[in-house]
């Protein structure tokens, strides 16, 4: 897999703040150790989003509100998106443990204080991970977000914390 620092993909806007790891990946699947079987549980405990795993396509980008991924330390809540081929997570802020878990798995986390109307599900986005610049290609608008720090980019370029690059 190539780890491009400029990502382009389709947005899924998951409205709401404090969407926690139990909504993202329900605790009844915690004993799962095979990443290939984690994707089908993504958002399985978030009302209205149960179909996400069948609708998501590789290259998609998930966008949400404040404190995304708060709650437990379960890595599966990150891995399930990797399994589906989601290339980036964008939120107004992230739960601290979740943010680390995503960085460590080379799933970029971009902090963007987006406003209603600036992005809708289905919009095509381009994100520059280094500069934090987000272009909404559908709406032809451009926004400044917080990209990855140097340490985070280094892990991303290696393909994950435990990869030696």
């Amino acid at each position: 897999m190539r780890f491009s620092e400029r990502l382009t993909g389709r947005a899924w806007v998951v409205e709401g703040d404090s969407i926690d790891t139990d909504m993202i990946y329900h605790n009844k699947h915690l004993a799962e150790t095979d990443p290939a079987r984690m994707g089908k549980h993504a958002f399985g405990n978030l009302p209205g989003w149960e179909e996400f795993p069948t609708k998501a396509k590789p290259g998609d980008i998930v966008i949400s509100g404040a404190n995304f991924g708060c709650g437990s330390s379960r890595q599966q809540a990150v891995t399930c998106f990797k399994t589906l081929g989601v290339v980036a997570l964008v939120a107004r802020s992230f739960g601290a443990i979740y943010e680390r878990n995503a960085v460590n798995e080379a799933l970029p986390v971009v902090v963007w204080d987006w406003k209603p109307g600036q992005v809708e599900s289905g919009d095509q986005l381009a994100i520059d991970l280094g500069t934090g610049r987000i272009e909404n290609l559908t709406r032809k608008t451009s926004h400044q977000a917080r990209g990855l720090s140097g340490a985070e980019l280094a892990i991303y370029r290696r393909g994950g914390l435990l990869r030696r690059g």
């Binding site: 703040d17 404090s18 915690l30 404190n67 601290a96 340490a151 914390l161 030696r164």
Partner: protein, 383 residues
């Protein structure tokens, strides 16, 4: 320039005189822990990456999520960890020992100023003794096992000052619920908080653990409480490690200071779904409950269970209601046995579980059925 508590701990574990918020450091970890939840993935992560354990004497497994192994997946994961540990001479706090973070305090794996990481999202409960604990995912814990250190971004520090004197009925849990109600689920997001004020400083170790266990629910990296004489004495009795009490410098720099008013505070309850949705118990309509749960890292200490026993003594659980009790650790379990607390629970008709976690991570006990009205006294998070 003065340093906050977190800056002192992180500085002393990164070989740096001074660390500042936002700085990314390599943090040395005194105790590296994985549980039956996450542990098998840590083993897999290490094996797949061709890595091994740097220092088996500082690396541990704690089986606390589902000690009984009633879930086949957990049982299989425990055995994989056990075999991995056996091959390396690592210590396993096995299925009889209880909640890993509590065991770490009881057995002196940590002390004021120490660092621990675990696959437990509530590892920051160690703020109760003025130590750094952090829950991390499988990849991080694999790295900690393999290298003895993890990358960490130094968080900003806040002061949370509890003002006023709570009513005698208000427990440690009520105090932290008051903070949650006041600060919200994101109130301390990404911050290391120092909790101060008489309402916190007067708490014993069990009460401090209750309060510190809820830091995650406020989005905090950790909620640190300056250890008092009692806590220091306890820790010295449990660890051979020499340590100096840790205090923030008087001129330490904080991002912000907030006040939580607990004057006259009465018992609180968090309504289902969101721990920060807190109301006075007396503001709720009288509600018939189906089940009650007592335990977890928040309220599974001996002091908590003794308080429950005082209420239950000579009484029985009402017909149609079930009561589930889970002591936090084997030490707590044995104390309950020696002090007659178990006798009270059994006479009352309670189910008493194995020492350990309970329902939070789909664990051994405390799950409920659809529509079942449960009062957890108290799990730390939404069901």
């Amino acid at each position: 320039m003065g340093r906050t508590m977190i800056e002192k701990i992180l500085g002393s574990h990164s070989g740096l005189d001074s660390v500042r918020p936002g700085q990314v450091i390599d943090l040395a970890i005194d105790a590296r822990v994985a549980r039956d939840f996450g542990g098998a993935n840590v083993v897999k992560g290490l094996t797949d990456a061709g890595l091994d354990v740097a220092d088996p004497a500082r690396t541990f497994f704690t089986f606390d999520c589902n000690p009984g192994g009633s879930d086949q997946g957990y049982a299989a994961n425990q055995q994989r960890c056990r075999v991995f540990a056996g091959e390396r001479g690592m210590r396993v706090f096995d299925i009889d020992r209880g909640i890993g973070t509590h065991v770490a305090v009881e057995t002196g794996l940590v002390w004021p100023g120490a660092t621990l990481v675990s696959t437990d999202s509530h590892a920051n409960i160690l703020g109760a003794i003025g130590a750094f604990g952090q829950g991390m995912g499988d990849a991080d814990i694999s790295a900690a096992f393999a290298f003895g250190k993890v990358w960490f971004k130094v968080p900003g520090s806040s002061v949370v000052r509890f003002r006023g004197r709570p009513s005698p009925e208000a427990t440690a849990k009520d105090r932290v619920l008051a903070a949650l109600a006041s600060l919200g689920a994101e109130g301390l997001l990404g911050h290391a908080a120092e909790l101060r004020g008489e309402a916190i400083e007067s708490l014993d170790l069990a009460g401090r653990m209750t309060v510190a266990s809820m830091a995650t629910e406020m989005g905090a990296i950790i909620a640190l409480i300056e250890p008092d004489e009692q806590v220091i004495r306890f820790c010295r009795s449990r660890t051979a490690q020499r340590f100096e009490p840790l205090h923030p410098d008087p001129d330490a720099v904080y991002d912000r200071e907030v006040t939580v008013d607990v004057e006259g505070l009465t018992p609180r309850v968090a309504r289902p779904g969101h721990p920060e949705d807190v109301v006075a118990v007396t503001d709720l309509p009288r509600t018939r409950v189906d089940s009650v749960f007592i335990g977890s890292c928040t309220n599974g200490r001996f002091e908590d269970l003794r308080a429950a026993a005082e209420i239950l003594r000579g009484r029985r659980v009402a017909p149609g209601v079930v009561l589930k009790i889970v002591p936090a650790t084997d030490e707590v379990w044995r104390l309950c046995l020696a002090e007659g607390v178990l006798e009270v629970f059994k006479q009352a008709g309670a189910l008493v579980g194995n020492a350990g976690c309970a329902g939070c991570a789909a664990g051994q006990i405390g799950m409920n059925g659809p529509g079942e009205i449960t009062v957890p006294g108290c799990g730390s998070r939404r069901g």
